[in-house]
Symmetry: C2
Subunit: 712 residues, 2 copies
């Protein structure tokens, strides 16, 4: 239960109605004394790198830095002036003019991707612009420069979203030994000043994730898992000493793409990430040790300054984290918490925040919360978490009585599931899934956002991209899932995988991009499938154009994408197969796309759904194995069922009976071997009934109200 | 007027009703004697390379050859059997088993694009398959082999479309001296046997264009201007002697894309084309000389065996061709004939043929003919041709009286236009347009078909791709148009061009593909525009991905396309500009596309139309010049007007008054300086009225019935 200054009564009421077992002081608010007396666990929030605003303001030399770059501009004559912050918000970034040296900044001729020689450009502080001298007319130039992050992203977001007007918050970079020493002195005092605190909620560690804002405070670039804002001169020097080479400005700005997580990571960027991770591990371990020494437990929130935490590595265990806390709006987000390794407890922070953006006149927090919960609960049945919580101002929530009633129901449902499952995973069917992409485990359950996200317009009548993709379907299915990096299969697909999934737009980390150019990886998948494995491709699977194909594994998939080079090759004609075991489900699916530009590679391909000649869903037999292609797979109950059936078919198990399964795709069923109990939930907003098949072949009928659940 | 055996009466009736001045004997039918007596010009059709079927059947060694290739197939073990004609029609192609040698055939490892060494594959005649030995499991293999074209494409098409059952026709390759000698002996006899013939209609010269058929007689690959079926061992040897290198099988099969005209041509393929052209010039000159010696005129039909004719070069003039005949279904096809160089007469063969595919119970030749004519006439007003004609069986046409009445109207309209224009071009406004692509003039007015064509389903409720693109809009505009090859602008855009158009899907010859990688070409366009030139991009203009852009000239266009690599770079937000001089027209246009995935590169870009965040039309100022982008521009009267206004705006002339222009885009107006007369036509199927502005500023009102025209 979050609390607020002077709002003890509101929190108290909600604690009783919802059955809360812990309270926390919001970042920036203190805990009312009447709540302390309840004897509940007390979470106190601290983000050490932005805790002492006064000290931070006095030390701009320690503010975090990053490399920024300008949009390439054409030279019409021999000189060209490039303003550095033309698009970026001038209050967020301060140009490090003292570092405008040829070794730290770079001016690039983007036409040939070559750096402009030293002496051929100068920085003009009066205009905050770089002047290129002796430019080649008709060429494009951009500047990569160092800037200080002068406004913490979360603080800026809150100013914009919640109308905050107080002094903007800044962070410091603990990589400087002076900062490190000061912060831990401050932290020890802070711990001493919080005697009632039982759990220190770190939000989070050293470096903030990346959101760049333009002059109108709109996003320019977003990377929730990006290592862009971790730059200091000392770090650059130490990196060089450790890795034997120096990172260039271009290594950071990456032709303006900033090494986004959605892009295929370069070897040099992976080095930088592991360099930062090592430091964050040291910093996090120091934080936890001091928390433990003070007799408290350490929780870490997956957000804000969480870069380098890497919950899917063993770093959090090494740090000594006692509790993972992740915000969750859907099943993918649940799995992002529940599937992390380690023995620490796991907690979800549910949406919406009790903030005025939603809790306002005309706002509808109830619908948002219900929609989120239906997706989260599906996934929760598969893999458990321990706790749930909310954030914001309880007094705002109390103005929405129906919402407060609903949350009481939600809490009851959560406790019922905890009780039925014993906090253990549900039984999986014997289909083991590997999600193959450029990252593998470290980016498990990160949404494979694609081009649609870039062109997405926030409109209430349009399904959000988050929570609406193949991963969301997968999050609630009774199969084991792990994420595999492409480099891991260079010598063969692991033997504990039955079906590989490659789901992502072309030229992204999610489909794998040019990593498919490593023929060992492509051949490994071919051998795996030819010997009986399954392969499911969605959107731009294995896309990496060769001279005769767009999908590198077009032969495995049985389909290829027309990028323009083969327009005069006429595809084989096809009719929709109505007899295939996936035909009925594919026929009733909505793939959310019309023009896929995907065609059958040969007449052996089975087309299951199409829009005209554009294939939307197909299946292929390849040696002893099988593959399925989806042009896209937005989340819905029936699409989830199609994905499950596709996994089963690709694994060659379609003739086996699947127990603990309802014939109605809107009803999700889980059986927990440790407790011997089962639970059925209605994942839709309508009344649903169906028949569940038990392992002995007997059946059980259920009828569930909208969103309802039933235990047995 | 076409004729048919025993159908003299039908032809006679139509000759009178339509006012025909010439008759022709259809290919394969003789001319009825009652028609000879009319004293009209007599066209006799001959395709010399397929004229003597008996001799051809006796000489399979002289049938034309081509390289074919198989779909790459995966090896699961160390041997792999690849059937050669798995998809291709076995009656059309006969494998040249006698040429299954390592120097003439090639087996490729498509995984690494390397030839399989000699001795590692064998051809098995019993299975008509190649066996790869010592294959690498997980790799893909294809076979490139020589085959004889055992069934002439036109003959096969007629068998399929018109239900012909007689012996299938074959051609011979006149490149063999024995064939050359035999054919010209035959031709001299034929000329002597046709004393009444005044015009020899060649259909056409030596080599047929390319259509491959599958087992079900469906197209596999089409290339109306392709040089695939011109292969003989002698030609390969002679090529090597002339060019100093030998072409490989891969040079022909081109990774299965067969050097399609829509692809960016390689230097080696251009060499092959010029080699064939030289021979066809020699062959065509010999034909024309003998025609002239016999006291007749030589006409050549742009179709069938027309490869190597190249009407947009001076080869037809060098051959001595007296009359160009081209089939035409739209304005682009009209310009394909009218714009050819040389002083020969020009004739259109209009659709539909009087064949049973359209002239059947329930067929609607009237609608097809009317629709074609409305488009053709728009273009005809700009650039004249001399004659029009039809093909097929007059007796079939007579069964459709409304059609026959309509054609009489059409013929009257044509004669009126001839009379009003004096057979001269209409006045252009002072905007000179260059259409920039990989080919330039030799492929002038060839439709820049793209991906839509590949996925096009023939349905009556869908606009055909042909006649529905930017070129069709351009074909009827009062601007001078020439086609420019990208290599021609390496040192600068010609000074007689005001606006360049680059219209085509990405990775095609029409947008230019990787030719944009030549920075001199990109810089030439930048300089041209920066100094005041105009640039119009449509579909995938200048597409050739670099590290930071998809459109090589994204800076000129002001927009870029998201291919997946920049999904986390958030585009600048925009609103539709309602004040721009193109705003009204862009707002009422239908771009025929929804998801363009094109975004504004900076906030300086003017967005004129969008679907959500997907840009459909935009404008940009670049230095002293201007550019306009269209996501697509299907033909319509209003889209044509938008294109005209865009050309005028891009040329910086939007403030000038355009004379001889109606305020209603459905009314096209032409003024002919040589006659001092004008004509206004209604290019729509509705009644239209409008006001025409004359050069002195006065106005003239017109009101025209559907498809009507009015002279002054």
């Amino acid at each position: 239960m979050p609390t607020e200054k002077g709002g003890g009564a509101s929190a108290l009421e909600l604690i009783r109605r919802w059955g809360a077992d812990a309270v926390r002081d919001c970042d920036g608010t203190a805990l009312p004394s009447e709540l302390l007396e309840l004897g509940l666990d007390v979470y106190s929030t601290i983000c050490l790198v932005r805790a002492d605003e006064e000290w931070t303001r006095a030390h701009p030399e320690y503010w975090p830095m990053k490399y920024l770059s300008t949009t390439p501009a054409p030279a019409f004559g021999e000189t060209l002036e490039i303003p550095l912050l033309e698009r970026l918000h001038p209050l967020k970034y301060e140009i490090r003019e003292d570092l405008a040296t040829p070794s730290l900044w770079q001016v690039m001729d983007r036409t040939g991707e070559l750096p402009v020689p030293h002496g051929k450009w100068v920085y003009d502080p009066a205009k905050k612009a770089v002047r290129v001298l002796g430019a080649c007319p008709g060429h494009l130039y951009s500047v990569s420069f160092l800037a200080t992050v002068a406004w913490d992203t979360t603080s800026m977001y809150n100013h914009l979203t919640n109308g905050w007007t107080r002094e903007r918050v800044r962070s410091v970079d603990p990589y400087y030994p002076e900062v490190w020493n000061y912060l831990f002195e401050y932290f020890d005092n802070w711990l001493a000043d919080h005697p009632q605190t039982t759990i220190v909620r770190l939000t989070s560690l050293a470096y903030h994730f990346n959101v760049d804002f333009d002059h109108d405070c709109r996003d320019v670039f977003r990377d929730w898992t990006g290592y862009q804002e971790c730059v200091s001169l000392k770090a650059l020097d130490d990196f060089e000493a450790q890795f034997g080479y120096r990172l260039t400005p271009e290594d950071f700005v990456d032709a303006g793409r900033n090494n986004a997580t959605g892009g295929v990571p370069s070897a040099r960027w992976r080095d930088w990430m592991s360099f930062v991770q090592r430091f964050v591990l040291r910093f996090g371990r120091e934080l936890c040790q001091r928390v433990h020494r003070a007799g408290k437990r350490a929780a870490v929130f997956h957000g804000d300054h969480w870069v380098g935490l890497e919950p899917f590595t063993d770093n959090p265990t090494k740090m000594g984290i006692d509790l993972h806390i992740g915000a969750a709006e859907d099943g993918v987000a649940l799995r992002r918490v529940s599937d992390t390794p380690g023995t620490m407890a796991k907690e979800l922070r549910l949406y919406p925040y009790f903030f005025p953006d939603v809790f306002r006149e005309g706002g509808d927090p109830l619908t948002e919360s219900r929609g989120d919960w239906l997706k989260i609960r599906r996934a929760l049945l598969r893999r458990p978490i321990d706790r749930i919580g909310w954030g914001g101002y309880p007094s705002l929530a109390l103005k929405f009585p129906a919402f407060c009633d609903w949350v009481a129901t939600l809490c009851d449902q959560f406790r019922e599931i905890l009780d039925t499952s014993g906090g253990t995973p549900a039984l999986d069917i014997p289909v083991r899934v590997g999600v193959l992409n450029a990252w593998g485990t470290p980016r498990a359950w990160i949404n494979s956002f694609g081009r649609d996200q870039k062109f997405f317009e926030k409109r209430t009548d349009v399904v959000e991209v988050a929570g609406s993709n193949l991963l969301e379907c997968l999050a609630g299915l009774p199969v084991s899932v792990r994420f595999i990096a492409m480099e891991e299969i260079r010598d063969g697909v692991p033997s504990d995988i039955d079906v590989l999934i490659n789901d992502g737009d072309a030229f992204t980390a999610w489909s794998g991009g040019d990593l498919w150019g490593d023929e060992r990886i492509a051949s490994a998948v071919r051998s795996f499938v030819a010997k009986g494995g399954g392969f499911i491709g969605c959107r731009g699977p294995t896309a990496d154009p060769t001279s005769d194909r767009f999908f590198r594994l077009a032969d495995v998939l049985g389909v290829d994408y027309e990028d323009g080079r083969g327009i005069q090759n006429v595809p084989v004609s096809f009719s929709i197969d109505r007899t295939h075991s996936l035909a009925a489900s594919a026929n009733s699916a909505n793939f959310g796309i019309v023009e896929s530009f995907v065609f059958p590679r040969t007449s052996a391909t089975t087309v299951l759904a199409s829009a005209g000649k554009h294939i939307l869903c197909s299946a292929n037999v390849y040696g002893e194995g099988r593959s399925v292609y989806f042009a896209s797979l937005p989340y819905s109950c029936s699409n989830s069922r199609l994905l499950l059936q596709s996994l089963v078919w690709a694994a060659g198990r379609e003739s086996e009976r699947i127990p603990w399964m309802a014939d109605n795709p809107a009803i999700d069923v889980a059986f927990f071997p440790t407790t011997g109990r089962m639970i059925a939930v209605n994942s839709s907003n309508d009344t649903q009934s169906g028949t569940i098949t038990l392992p002995d072949g007997t059946e059980r009928n259920v009828s569930l109200p909208p969103g309802g659940q039933e235990m047995a």
